[in-house]
Amino acid sequence: MALDKPYQDIPGTTIFDAEQSRKGYWLNQFCTSLMKAENRARFKADERAYLDEWPMTEAQKAAVLARDLNACMAQGGNIYFLARIGATDGLSFQQMAGSMTGMSEQKYRHMMVSGGRSIEGNRYLGEDGDAQPHRQPQGQAGHTKD
């Protein structure tokens, strides 16, 4: 499609545009359903069975079961919808956001009180900031990827 998507050269960032929205429609609708207490209870009682009520892809269901928010985003999820899963689990927005960086909860929180993630090196893909693909997962320096 000929419309401009100038936002594809930003590292570690997915823009929830019409295409993502179409891809993630049922995933996000599932998330919205968790705003009702009775649905949260049913989901918690049997996550797989509850997910199977929705016409989601297997990859979307797996991402939800694994609480892998990056995978959820790749499958069309949007953070404000996905936050309903976190709320069901009793997580804060900071815990959810941090979970996508590969950093520990402590390290992420410490980064924030220290002024947040620096923009330097994180504006364009191909620079050398900590959000660049070649530096993922973060907070693992010196460790082998597992």
């Binding site: 936002y7 997915t14 919205t32 953070i79 919808f81 980064m111 002024g115 993630r117 923009i119 959000a131």
Partner: protein, 289 residues
């Protein structure tokens, strides 16, 4: 006639509401943030409006993917605080102002803005956190917000969101609409959201203090130039959720200097703090000079 006397700008982070609702505002983490609003609470008591026109965005709360309005104006009589998944915030019900809201709707649609009018919706932290910040804790039953509030929702969740330019022009249209209302009302317009923050992906936690403050400088002094900032600059420099700042341009567009008064607004208060949860908090009070 009704008139817009001042504009207020503030971030609307959910964690701020949680801190107030759970009486954590005295903790070391939160003290410096709330200190930035001490002046503002006194100012609001001394400059109590008859109506607040509150620009915010719903965060997938009242509007799911079933229906996504670009601009939604609340013309209803009241709006309940929403349950966003952690239970509804213990704050008073928001009383609307259907007469003024309907009047603004009529005027602004005739100025070629394609509004969606809403009589029934719950309002989430985007609307209630700014009220809490500016008014302090209010008992949900025995307390009350200081005046009626007209909620105005802007889509900043699903792209494309309206441009800064469109928002700035909308603010000007709202000013014209308010000034054509016969009743003598003191109206404040509030713009909320921002500043730099990103809630997703490997770049989550991004804060750009320099960009935020340069943007604030320009928004105050040269709002027309600020309104020309393209979306991509917000996303790249201020994070994917930094795009919320376009909502501030609606409030700014409604100030009298933009309509040609010649006098720049008076900066009654300016505050900036990092962090509240994932977010840089910005706050401004501008009075028409």
């Amino acid at each position: 006639m009704a008139r817009i006397t001042a504009s207020v700008y503030t971030s609307h982070v959910p964690a701020i509401g949680v801190a107030m609702d759970l009486q954590k505002t005295g903790e070391d983490y939160w003290k410096p943030l709330f200190a930035g609003y001490d002046f503002s609470r006194r100012w609001l008591r001394d400059n109590r409006p008859d109506v607040i026109f509150l620009v915010y965005n719903d965060h997938a709360t009242a509007f799911s993917l079933d229906l996504i309005p670009t601009f939604a104006l609340g013309t209803g009589a009241q709006f309940n605080p929403a349950d966003e998944g952690w239970g509804a915030r213990p704050v008073p019900v928001v009383q609307g102002h259907p007469e003024l809201a309907s009047h603004i709707a009529q005027s602004v649609i005739q100025q070629d803005f394609d509004l969606t009018l809403v009589n029934r919706m719950d309002v989430d932290h985007g609307l209630t956190v700014p009220l809490s910040l500016m008014c302090g804790e209010q008992d949900p039953v025995h307390g009350a917000w200081p005046c009626p509030v007209i909620p105005f929702h802007v889509n900043v969740v699903q792209y494309p969101v309206p441009s800064g330019q469109r928002c700035f022009q909308l603010g000007q249209a709202i000013r014209r609409a308010v000034e054509s209302f016969d009743e003598d009302l003191n109206v404040q317009i509030w713009g909320t959201g921002g500043m730099s923050h990103q809630l997703q992906g490997a770049r989550a936690g991004l804060i750009n203090r320099e960009w935020d403050n340069a943007w604030l400088d320009q928004m105050i002094a040269d709002p027309a130039a600020c309104a020309a900032t393209p979306h991509i600059d917000y996303v790249r420099e201020a994070g994917s959720e930094g795009i919320e700042l376009v909502m501030w341009l609606i409030a700014r567009g409604a100030m009298s200097d933009v309509a040609g008064s010649g006098r720049p607004p008076r900066v009654a208060h300016r505050f900036y703090h990092v962090p509240a949860s994932n977010t840089a908090v910005g706050h401004l009070i501008l009075e028409n000079a």
